[in-house]
Each structure stands twice: as C-alpha cells, then as structure tokens.
Point group: C2
Chain length 124, copies 2
DNA sequence: TTCTTTATTGGCTATTATGCCAAATATCAA
DNA sequence: TTGATATTTGGCATAATAGCCAATAAAGAA
C-alpha cells in the first residue's frame, strides 16, 4: 500500500480505535444525552477517576469529544455527533452475531461430526 | 457499570476494535467495491499473507466480512455493508482534526506564550 | 501420488493498551 | 494561606495486538 493511502487509513483507524473500548463507547452514548463532568462519568463507569480521565483524553485527541472548564470541573460534550450513526449498525451486527453463534451451536447438536461447524463454534 | 450493560458495550466495542486498524479498514473499503481473495488483498496491502489472513479472521469473527471457498482460493465479501456508513463521518472528522492541528500551530506562532495551546499542540 | 498454489495456524518478539496508585495541578472556600 | 474537591499526568505491571517466519492443510494439476 502506498504511503499516502496508508496514511489515510491510519487517520481513520485512529478514530475507530478510540471507539474500540466499552467504557469509551459508554461515554459517547452518555454524552449524546447530556454533557457530563469527569466525576459523573467516573461514578457511572465505576473505575478509577484517572482511568476515566485517560479514556476521555483518548476521545479528545480523536476529536470525538470536547471539553469546557467550569469551576473545578471539566464538562465534556460530544464534538462529533455523527458517530452516533454507528450505533444502529453496531446493534444490528451484534444481533446477527448472536444468531450466528446460536445457529452454530444448534448445528453442532444436529450434526456433531461437522468439522467446519465445530471449528466455527469454537470461536465464540 | 452493571454487568449486562458492560456486556452490551463490550460486544459493540469488539466490532469497533476490529475496524481499528488501517489494513482492516482498507480491506472493508476494497470489499465494498468487489469481492477479493486473500492473495489479491495481500498484493494490495503489501504485507505477509499470514498477516492479512489474520486481519481477515478478525473481521470475520466480528461479522464484518464473510467468505466462500472457490478452488484453492478464499473469496471474501462484505457481510455488514452498514459499516460503510462510518466512512463519511470518519472523513469529516479527519478533516476537522487536521484543521484543529493547523489552527493550534498558527495560534502558537501568534501567541507563543499560550500555555494551553502549546500543550494542545504537543498532542499532534 | 506428487507437486504447486492458496490459505490458515502456531510460535515468537516487539509494540501498544489498560488500569491502578501516587504525585502534581487548578479552582474555590474558609 | 490552608484545605477540600476535581482533574490530569507519570510510573509501573499486566494484558492484548501486530507482524514475521515456519509448519500445516486443502484443492487442483501433472
């Protein structure tokens, strides 16, 4: 792959990677409802505040969230609402994946000798 | 975060994580144009075929791509075309991020003493 | 069968990510 | 100024990823 094309995909991948963590997806979802300070998000997530702060800095650097200082608090808000459009697709895929797993397990019961199926099922 | 909610975001994050790599984003983009075998994708990406094969298995397990055996070749196709909807948003964000970086650098020239700006600029 | 091509898997190392604690910073109140 | 609260950063241990080579498997051709 040529360097300039590689760079294009690299920039995009950085953003996807920033969204590739359950806590960070939760934060995006929550900020789509209302702005939140770090302490509120920390309370909801149940991790150390330093951990949540680092998640937020990753989202910030990716340009997904933005912040504003209010007194001693940092209020975070969603800076790229277009990422909310990902969620519908994600939910559909999760549903499809679960069905695939169940089908696979069922198939394994029906045809226990099916090597490919057993192999596929091991992945889930 | 409660366990069931955590699990919901975990499932979604797995899919986002699968998309969080330049070669894998390239593969999705390429498969949106036409089905491809591993050897073709390997040629385009320019990595070891085992590396590309592993990328494909990650996309497969996430339910993003699907495959079909044809002779000695494996033909991969896009199984979840809805992910293509992510690209427009990604491109917009990349553009915005670049502008932010440039603005930051310019601001640093205009006001060299601005600590916050210098700090922000260091991130890019 | 044997050889060739295509693809996957195992194993290894290097790099990166995660999450906690402790330390540093900033703002506001007493 | 001192203290309390909110947040970020540094440091560290552990876990997960990435990518190469070598070995294996599967299909078709000779």
């Amino acid at each position: 792959m040529k360097n300039d094309i590689r760079d294009r995909y690299e920039s995009r991948a950085r953003i996807m990677k920033a969204l590739g963590h359950p806590s960070r997806l939760f934060i995006v979802d929550e900020l789509s409802r209302q702005d939140r300070c770090v302490c509120e998000l920390t309370e909801m997530i149940g991790a150390d505040i330093s951990t949540v702060s680092k998640h937020l800095s990753i989202l910030r650097e990716a340009g997904i969230v933005d912040y504003e200082k209010r007194g001693t608090q940092m209020h975070y808000r969603l800076a790229a609402p277009c990422v909310l459009g990902f969620f519908r697709c994600l939910e559909d895929m999760v549903r499809t994946n679960v069905q695939r797993q169940m089908h696979c397990l069922q198939d394994d019961v029906d045809r226990p000798g099916n090597a490919q199926c057993t192999k596929d099922c091991q992945r889930y």
